[in-house]
Assembly symmetry: C2
Homo-oligomer: 694 residues x 2
């Protein structure tokens, strides 16, 4: 790729971004679109559904940028929760890292590369036709002493990233503790999930649980709820729900809303189904155990309960709303087996993913299409059509295939037997991250068949050299990738699919029930981390990528702040448990950057620099180990000090009796509770500060 081609691409994408921004600023002002662009505010009752029209609203204005920019982090925390704050910290952290990296890259490394003379001579008149490779490290002469600038940069950027990582860890763990201390009592903190309850013949699971905890924890044990497996029941309930929806639709065409008789009928159906359900449901050897104090629950959580370590296995309970029942595996061994199977399946999907993609892409070449679909022959011979098909179809297919991976990974995590949405998404997030790193980086960089890719990892010592050869060659591809991802980021803003859905729904007159989406961290976080990985690995090799990455994170910062505040309603609050994934991914990026630098200095005939680089990964891993000890436990659990202090505060709280009363039924399966079919806007409006007794 030459410089002018890159600039064209930048121009096109910048234009598209501006266009999308302008489009959004107009569309969001249309009263009919308010449920698409501010569903959250509507649900929270902060914005009324107006139907009046205004000419002003047809002009694009940048007011939304100010609105998104303004709220402080604490305001974001109060309205969107700590998970959203952690998500935004990824942008802040990346912006800081790539500001420093960008400065060093553009003002130090890029000139050195450009005046390197290895590939092409300096010629300012011919600048637009220069290949991008003359801006990469490949252009520096072999053995040149200028390479020591790259060497020092590797040390400096590692130091900067580690310092910033430390700062972020400190900041986020502080926020997490502060949030916990300030929050009202939450059911999940008083509750422990127990798996692998041994079955005794002659006594029900209910009695076993009750007698075990009355025997060993009489002073702190409050109540328990046995988990029920009711796939069949759930099916029946779903069926009834569908029937009800159709009824509603029928009625809503007659009157504007379902009348009371109908609602009574629905409750009647519900009641009968419950009776039916209670007879078909099956108890599962797992239960939620609630305790009278935080410290009491924590003790049960951290101590092995039974003589047999795979019975009465405890884990932290999720929020009641966060519980995901259907595929929960109750026995410890069951969970273990499904975990192993899912690991194998994820690895297979990750490694073999490119095979079907390549196969389908192969089908789209013109000759194949003509053979497969002979009736299209005439159409395909039109030059514009053939260009579009050969040019865009393969990448469209790649995008389509790529977009179905996050749901698949989520299904895998579900099968793994997590009890909560947050657990499933956290696990899917890790899987997706490794999938992306493998397929976007290793599989692209280390081209060849799957087995030859895997063989690379059997020849460990060759990895740096192979990376050093392959990675710089892909530089222009990834610069283009980052530039085009500006547009895909901006299209998040316009929510085209949701808009279309709303219009179609509005025209066909389907149900009035509004759907408030929640952000899928498991697909968004890995995307950001991949860009950060590209930035760090190409920092030394092709510093030209850095300004584009800076722009990417700037656009993303504004867009996601806007979306979090207006569109997405948090589904759960894991109190920042996504941060360790970000931390680990950053450390991995650093190590990868260092490995590639090691290989590059070898190739560039500066073996001394290679040798002097060896302390760097050692230092990075030591830093990682320190953080793992210093910060990561805070994401797992709360300390005795924190819990006991909070227990004492709670003791003086007059509302605790009511809280404990509600806690007893907090973990009942929602599918067995008659649900209200009117939308309750206050339901999850302030998820952090809400509590059962407010």
């Amino acid at each position: 790729m030459i410089l002018s081609a890159l600039l064209t691409s930048v121009g096109i994408n910048l234009g598209l971004c501006v266009l999308l921004f302008a489009l959004y600023s107009v569309l969001r002002k249309q009263p009919s679109n308010i449920e698409v662009y501010a569903p959250r505010l509507v649900a929270e009752g902060k914005v009324q559904r107006r139907r009046d029209f205004n000419l002003d609203s047809l002009l694009p204005t940048p007011g939304w940028v100010r609105n998104a920019w303004q709220p402080s982090e604490d305001e974001l925390l109060a309205s969107c929760g700590l998970d959203a704050v952690v998500f935004m910290r990824i942008f802040v952290f990346s912006l800081r890292v790539f500001s420093v990296a960008g400065f060093m890259g553009i003002f130090i490394l890029l000139p050195i590369n450009y005046f390197g003379d290895q590939i092409s001579e300096v010629d300012f008149y011919d600048l637009p036709n220069k290949s991008l490779s003359s801006f990469t490290i490949s252009n520096v002469k072999d053995g040149s002493s200028r390479l020591w600038a790259h060497f020092s940069s590797a040390y400096i950027i590692t130091g900067v990233v580690c310092y910033l990582l430390y700062y972020e860890c400190n900041h986020i763990t502080f926020k997490r503790l502060e949030l916990f201390n300030a929050s009202r009592p939450q059911p999940q903190d008083f509750t422990v999930l127990v798996r692998g309850i041994p079955s005794h013949s002659g006594s029900s699971l209910d009695d076993t649980v009750h007698s075990f905890f009355m025997e060993y924890h009489p002073s702190t044990y409050l109540s328990h709820v046995v988990v029920h497996r009711k796939n069949k029941l759930r099916g029946v309930m779903k069926y009834a729900e569908n029937i009800y929806r159709r009824f509603t639709l029928l009625f809503s065409r007659r009157s504007s809303r379902p009348d009371f008789r109908d609602y009574n009928k629905r409750e009647d159906v519900d009641g009968r189904l419950q009776q039916f359900g209670l007879s078909t449901q099956k108890e599962v050897s797992a239960a939620f155990i609630s305790f009278k104090s935080l410290y009491g629950a924590s003790n049960v959580l951290h101590t092995q309960q039974s003589v047999n370590p795979i019975e009465w296995v405890t884990e932290q309970a999720p929020e009641p709303d966060d519980v995901y029942w259907p595929l929960f595996s109750s026995s410890y061994i069951g969970k273990w087996i499904s975990k192993l199977l899912v690991i194998v399946a994820s690895i297979l999907l990750t490694v073999l993913y490119l095979l079907p993609v390549a196969f389908v892409q192969g089908l789209t070449n013109l000759y194949q299409l003509k053979t497969l679909l002979p009736f299209l022959k005439n159409v395909l011979e039109i030059s514009v059509v053939s260009q579009v098909i050969t040019g865009y179809l393969p990448s469209l297919i790649l995008q389509l295939f790529l977009s179905i991976v996050p749901p698949i990974m989520k299904i895998f995590s579900t099968i793994q037997g997590y009890i909560s949405h947050s657990g499933i998404e956290k696990s899917a997030c890790s899987k997706m991250l490794w999938f992306l790193i493998w397929n976007a980086f290793f599989a692209n960089v280390l081209t060849g068949s799957v087995t030859s890719q895997l063989q690379v990892f059997l020849e460990l010592k060759d990895i740096p050299t192979r990376l050093a050869v392959a990675v710089p060659a892909q530089a222009s591809f990834y610069i283009a990738y980052v530039v085009t991802s500006w547009t895909s980021l901006s299209s998040e803003l316009t929510r085209v699919l949701a808009l279309l859905g709303d219009w179609i729904c509005g025209c066909s007159g389907c149900s009035d029930e509004m759907h408030v989406p929640s952000i899928s961290y498991h697909s968004e976080i890995p995307r950001l981390l991949l860009v950060a990985l590209l930035g760090l690995t190409y920092f030394l090799l092709a510093p030209l990528i850095l300004p584009f990455i800076l722009i990417f994170f700037c656009i993303g910062y504004i867009i996601y702040r806007n979306q979090l505040l207006n569109v997405y309603l948090p589904k759960y609050e894991s109190r920042g448990q996504f941060w360790p994934i970000v931390h680990n991914s950053t450390i991995f990026s650093l190590i990868l950057m260092q490995a590639i630098a090691f290989g590059i200095f070898g190739l560039k005939k500066l073996p001394l620099a290679s040798s002097l680089l060896i302390p760097l990964p050692v230092f990075t891993l030591l830093f990682h180990d320190y953080c793992r000890k210093r910060f990561m436990p805070i994401f797992q659990t709360y300390s005795a000090e924190t819990l006991i202090k909070k227990d004492r505060m709670d003791q003086n709280d007059s509302g605790m009796n009511e809280f404990f009363h509600k806690l007893k039924s907090a973990y009942n399966d929602p599918s067995l509770i008659p649900r209200q079919h009117t939308y309750d806007p206050d339901d999850r409006s302030a998820p952090l500060l809400s509590s059962l007794d407010t």
Copy 2:
């Protein structure tokens, strides 16, 4: 090596063993040797020091074998502790494994190998001159279908080993829990060691600890002892001790034992030194915290105490007698750094160990010796002398170097900052095991320079093939090794060094104080595990090794039972914590055996068998993971169920008040307590059943 040479070696070693056995049975009956051969019984007062002579005692008798054989496992447990039982279970387990393996090896694999015709033809008349390699798998024809017998054997032996491992895990964990339930209250179970106590200016460490635990654990906290660093003080104490010893010696030459005036003088010195010591000692940010209940201590042990995870870090306290103070590192970070340094040092020692050995061995060739020591030239030219030097000196040097490794590994583990002898020895045991496996197996098998050895591990896929080539070639060396280790095992019985020391001491009239040794598990266990590793890896390749290994474990079983009952006094009771090392080593041996088999079948042109072997390591690792979940937690900790039950039993015990009273001072530094210089035989006689309040 040919068969007759092997048989000669077997004959010589068997003869030596019988000789040593006979010698032992005579020597042990000499009244003057009773302190060498039954120091434990003397110390426990079970045998009187007689001085009468008997002619019968000059005849070798096998009575000691019956005495060693007779006690049941429960009797062994009662007198030697669970660690000794676990040590003997290694023999029982190995005997069972190698009985099955030996049967299969001798009656199925050996005939198949011998009639294989690849290397040499079957010729019964020439049997004594047959090379040992005609009994190995190398003699089976390439691609022969007889190799499926080896293939099935790999599956069968893996199944047998896993079954027996499961049985042993079950048995030992049961014993461990039974022992805990039956034992009287022990100080270590009520106590937790805390490292990384934050220092507050203005308040002493003592106050900080007291106020922290009074604040957060008021209902269970009993008392604490702050650890003091007193290297200087310790030096002064040692000096005083030496002076005292010399005095005693001087007096004992005049009278038979030191008189009272001397003892008073000693106490006087002690008192002054204590005053001096208290002024020079320095508090260290670590403390032993005792609690009023087992469950209370367990809760503190398992819950993160402070908001900062590297402050107030808790770990299980060792027995009071087991505490090792001098090199204890109090801060969490200090421990972390010393651990990293020790890991590096251990790896260097392990990998580079053969270099100095080879260098010194190189010095011993005749030419070098003549150059270095020209005055010996005439002596060295005598044929017998030169044969002895060239034949035995190198292996003697190897043995000498090898015997200093366990102490070095123990020093490394000491530097690592463990608080207890048991922790140090457990860690040294693992280090020693990896050292032996590397140096005796990999370094010998994968010959070449250190870097080329390490490079093998960078080319992972080549490992099975390289092992498959190198391992069978070393078969005769290891058969000889196992046979000669019979003798070294038997020399344990005669305790030559201790006997010599006793004689010299007796002649020169040195002090009467008797030293009762304790068994060094960190040098004995790895030796046994190495033989088991050899047995499992050579099971398929050279089944001829198996009967010799069976004999090795038979001899060892009797000898060590005898020594444990008569000679060694346990220094500590870790309640079987050495078993996980045995378990992991066995799993490693199985995986190694399977990797070699994988390579062998590839070399023998039976790729189908190689492919069909792949499920085997997967199954083995799954089994290992299951055991890790099912049994290993039991070695780490006790369950809430166990602890609470025992707490309730203790509540009804009238002696608990006295126990708690003594518990408060149990962890005071022994170097600050005036010690009694008369030997107290009941001190550790029944370490398991003894308690502070008996």
